[in-house]
């Protein structure tokens, strides 16, 4: 660990926050020859993604997958006894995964000769900041340029405090135990992923969503592929339903649920609040540097991720939606290059979205819903996976691949996939979008057989009348 307790008086580039946006920016800037100081309270870089987000949730989802597949394999002639789940070992394994990855990043910090300062930074002016650790002022420093990447945190329902029984995603990922019943408040990707984990581990999971569908913003046909399976795994999915009250009692949490028919009270062992995330832009001293945040707390940035104060950049969750690690990577590259004087701009053609449920749901570029909202004419091909050889050999029948093109230019405008492994398949769509590929390009690309990727090829073939 390149941890130093001495705080340098001056830094060329200071990076505040060591999540994906921060550590990626720090590494890139160091590779480009800048003198970099990275400030973060954790021992090793990682941020929410590694410590409390993407990585632990994927580890737990892998456990869920093993459990579900072993149960389902009876249908194809392989019967396992019901699994015994050692929650302590699962938790320890998940923490080992985190430890390996964050430890690896810590090594990289050393290799790249980045000065790592443990603590939280607060700007005191456009070129000065203070570092504190555990509430104690550790020192002050001046900097030439800064990249701020302080990330986001889960939103709690107003008036509700997190506790042992009422948790946010961080609490759920800590996996203290497996509750008998779990209510997931919010039908977005975080709630559905964590709900899937707990359902597989044995909890009776219910989901309550205020709007009329799961995964708001995603095309309904993709959601329906996922919902058909979740309906079997979850106790109930309550749509168009509001949480009117949550009260922690002895032995459970009493929740008042309201829908069109009226209100009902139910008691759950645990409640997971997953209604969204908020950027961490408070207590950063942004105003002292002359930077304002918008109504949602995001820092406005230009195409190079420069804030109004042009030598201070903002990347990742604090720089706006979508709050995704890979968007932060892309922005971090641009900010680091711009800080090094290169002419980089952030202009991705598509930022993929992946929901790591089973089946996974992934999309990039224009969605059918957006095309309809914009009144834009598109060609859409939807290929159900029932006819795909690889799908059937996996013991599955669910899945859909969708390709959207421009009817005039044949340009690929969007690709969406729901099914096992959709998150891996979507990369082809993102590359197609970035390369300005046409439907013809997809049709002329030989896809390996038998794989799920053939569904992209087949969908592209459906775009032309034979």
């Amino acid at each position: 660990m390149a941890e130093t307790n001495t705080i340098p008086a001056k830094a060329g580039l200071v990076v505040i926050g060591a999540g994906p946006g921060g550590y990626h920016a720090a590494f890139k800037a160091a590779e480009l020859g800048l003198e970099v100081t990275l400030i973060d309270p954790a021992e090793n870089p990682g941020g929410v993604c590694l410590y409390r987000g993407c990585i632990p949730s994927k580890a737990l989802l892998h456990v869920a997958k093993l459990v579900n597949e072993s149960a389902e394999s009876e249908a194809i002639g392989v019967k396992f006894a019901p699994p015994e789940i050692d929650v302590d070992r699962v938790r320890a394994w998940k923490d080992e995964v985190i430890g390996k990855l964050t430890g690896g990043l810590g090594m990289k910090v050393q290799q790249k000769k980045i000065t790592h300062v443990r603590g939280t930074a607060r700007l005191t002016g456009p070129s000065t900041l203070q570092v504190s650790a555990a509430g104690e002022l550790q020192g002050e420093m001046t900097f030439e340029q800064a990249i701020i990447a302080t990330g986001s945190r889960p939103i709690m329902l107003p008036g509700i405090e997190a506790s042992d029984r009422i948790v946010d995603s961080t609490g759920a990922l800590a996996l203290q135990d497996v509750p008998g019943s779990l209510l997931v408040v919010g039908g977005g990707y975080i709630g559905l992923e964590l709900g899937s984990v707990y359902a597989a581990l044995g909890s009776k999971v219910s989901v309550v969503e205020m709007t009329g569908g799961l995964l708001p913003g995603c095309d309904r046909d993709l959601v329906s592929v996922l919902k058909r399976r979740l309906d079997k795994q979850f106790e109930s999915i309550m749509l168009s339903t509001k949480v009117a009250a949550i009260k922690e009692q002895k032995g459970g949490v009493k929740v008042t649920l309201e829908d069109k028919k009226g209100s009902q009270e139910r008691t759950f062992d645990r409640v997971l609040i997953s209604i969204g995330r908020r950027p961490n832009t408070e207590n950063l001293g942004l105003e002292a540097a002359g930077i304002e945040v918008d109504a949602k707390g995001f820092v406005p940035v230009d195409a190079q991720r420069r804030t109004r104060v042009s030598h201070i950049f903002a990347v990742g969750d604090i720089a706006g939606e979508p709050m995704l690690a890979h968007k932060a990577y892309g922005e971090a590259d641009v900010a680091a290059e711009a800080a090094a004087g290169l002419k980089a701009v952030y202009d991705p053609r598509a930022v993929p979205a992946v929901v790591f449920t089973d089946p996974e749901v992934a999309w990039c570029g224009l969605t059918e819903t957006q095309a309809r909202e914009q009144g834009r004419k598109v060609l859409t091909a939807k290929l159900p996976w029932r006819g795909n050889g690889r799908t059937l050999t996996l013991g599955r029948e669910d899945g859909i691949t969708k390709v959207i093109t421009d009817p005039e230019s044949d340009a690929v405008l969007g690709i969406a996939v729901a099914g096992p492994g959709a998150g891996e398949l979507i990369a082809e769509g993102v590359l197609a979008m970035e390369m300005a590929a046409t439907g013809e390009d997809l049709r002329k690309t030989i896809h390996p057989h038998p794989t799920l990727s053939e569904t992209v090829y087949e969908a592209a073939r459906m775009l032309v009348k034979e």
């Binding site: 230009d302 711009a338 053609r349 859409t380 421009d406 009817p407 230019s409 340009a411 046409t438």
Partner: protein, 464 residues
């Protein structure tokens, strides 16, 4: 069935504009050719007419929106479907089919407006900053290229180029949105970017002609980093208007590429002014004779007598291009900036006709109701600041023209007539010329010719 109304091709080199006013709203009945909205382009404010008679069902743009040529601005129901199909919208018929998901992709490239009739004028001869064929993109600045933001806003038509090609373009200072892609779906290749740069540079350095679709881009004239002005006091920023941006670009280009000389002279216009006042006593307002109208005639005759002043320099072909026509631009001060409408065939019109035309054109220009074509094709320019004052100034030649005449305020002055000083009305004239084309002696002769014609208009007939 709803029909899309798209922005038609308005003028050569114009690829987009800003919606400044919308005259209809959803549900309105419209006549064919009725103005739907007004759009400010690089060259002028143009009215976009309805391609059909019928009802507007949806307005897809708002005032202040930037729209590209070919973008859908409204949807409407033509009163008669058949009639609408044959109506004049350049590409409305492209979208006849409603259910696109049933449609096979079309082979034809989508850029239908390219086929629309466009003014035949070569944009390079445009005389004025406002007519320079700037294709409308923001200058590439490392801090705010904003290319992506624009496309996100319209949700449409991102430049079809791979990330590596977009980076190449950025590194070369090329706005990727101005590059014509030659690949499938208009995809832009490295060669396309390099071709664009080569052709642009050839043009800037006096090389051969460039296809109209590309055109000159601003940003060639690099600026050093600005200091932080807030160190010395409060500041505020206003975005440059299109006219200002294009003027800045054209002026920088002319200043940095043309070796210019300004020749001053003065003309005794006592007699001419007496005649003009006398004429105007009985003239209707639209017929009012201005000094500029008289100068138009005099300059037109001078340009016939000195044809090198009516030429353009073609360094690539090592030629001087003489124009057999005389179209004179007149700089007009408008609230939106300097615009230069062009009076056609000034040599073949009488002063009365020129006066009427000039009055009408100046009026239209001030209201910014002239078409881009009205500002193209000038061969010489007159800039008359006499109405404001001043004793002399050095106008800047509007490339690719080679000369411009500046006029300052006429004043009474004692003039020696050989035996005594007499009070005469004297008008200062300043001629700036491209010294690569015109020698000093010719410059002096040309301006003297103009002065003598003003002093003794018979010269026009004698010499012209």
């Amino acid at each position: 069935m709803a029909q899309e109304i798209r922005v038609p091709e308005v003028s050569d080199g114009v690829v987009k504009g800003t919606v400044i006013s919308i005259s209809v709203s959803a549900g309105d009945k419209v006549e064919a050719d009725q103005t739907l909205l007004e759009m400010e382009t690089d060259k002028a404010v143009v009215a976009i007419p309805s391609p059909f008679q019928g009802v507007i069902t949806e307005v897809k743009v708002a005032e202040g929106d930037e729209v590209e040529i070919g973008a859908v601005i409204m949807l409407g129901d033509p009163a008669g479907e058949k009639a609408a199909e044959t109506a004049s919208a350049p590409d409305a018929s492209e979208d006849a089919s409603e259910d696109a998901s049933e449609d096979a992709p079309k082979d034809a490239p989508k850029d239908a407006p390219k086929d629309a009739p466009a003014p035949a004028e070569e944009p390079a001869t445009a005389p004025v900053p406002a007519a320079a064929p700037e294709a409308g993109a923001e200058p590439e600045s490392p801090t705010a290229p904003a290319v992506d933001l624009q496309t996100v806003r319209t949700g449409d038509r991102v430049a079809p180029a791979a990330p590596s090609i977009r980076r190449l373009a950025r590194d070369l200072g090329v706005d990727i949105y101005q590059v014509q892609g030659t690949g499938p779906g208009g995809r832009i290749s490295e060669d396309d970017v390099r071709t664009f740069v080569r052709e642009t540079m050839q043009r800037i350095t006096g090389g051969g002609p460039v296809p109209a679709a590309t055109g000159e881009f601003p940003g060639l004239h690099a600026q050093r980093p600005l200091p932080d002005f807030t160190k010395w006091g409060p500041v505020h920023q206003e975005p440059l208007s299109r006219v200002r941006r294009i003027t800045a670009d054209a002026m920088s280009y002319a200043w940095s590429t043309i070796p210019m000389v300004t020749q001053d002279d003065q003309a005794d216009i006592t007699g001419l002014e007496a005649f003009r006042k006398d004429f105007n006593r009985t003239a209707a307002p639209e017929n009012k004779l201005t000094t500029t109208a008289i100068l138009l005639k005099v300059c037109a005759a001078a340009l016939k007598a000195f044809p090198q002043f009516n030429s353009s320099l073609d360094l690539a072909h090592q030629e001087l291009i003489f124009k057999d026509y005389v179209h004179i631009g007149v700089a007009v001060d408008t609230p939106g900036g300097l615009l230069v409408p062009v009076i056609r065939d000034a040599d073949r019109k009488g002063i009365e006709t020129l006066a009427v035309e000039l009055n009408a054109l100046a009026e239209q220009t001030r209201e910014r109701r002239i078409s881009p074509a009205d500002m193209e094709g000038g061969t010489f320019t007159i800039s008359n600041l006499g109405g404001i004052g001043g004793t002399a100034f050095s106008p800047i030649v509007y490339a690719p023209q080679v000369a411009i005449l500046g006029v300052s305020r006429a004043a009474m002055a004692p003039v020696w007539n050989g035996s005594e000083f007499r009070p005469r009305l004297v008008m200062p004239l300043s001629l700036t010329y491209d010294h690569r084309v015109i020698d000093g002696a010719d410059g002096a002769r040309f301006l003297r010719w103009i002065c003598e014609a003003l002093e003794q208009p018979l010269n026009l007939v004698m010499k012209g």
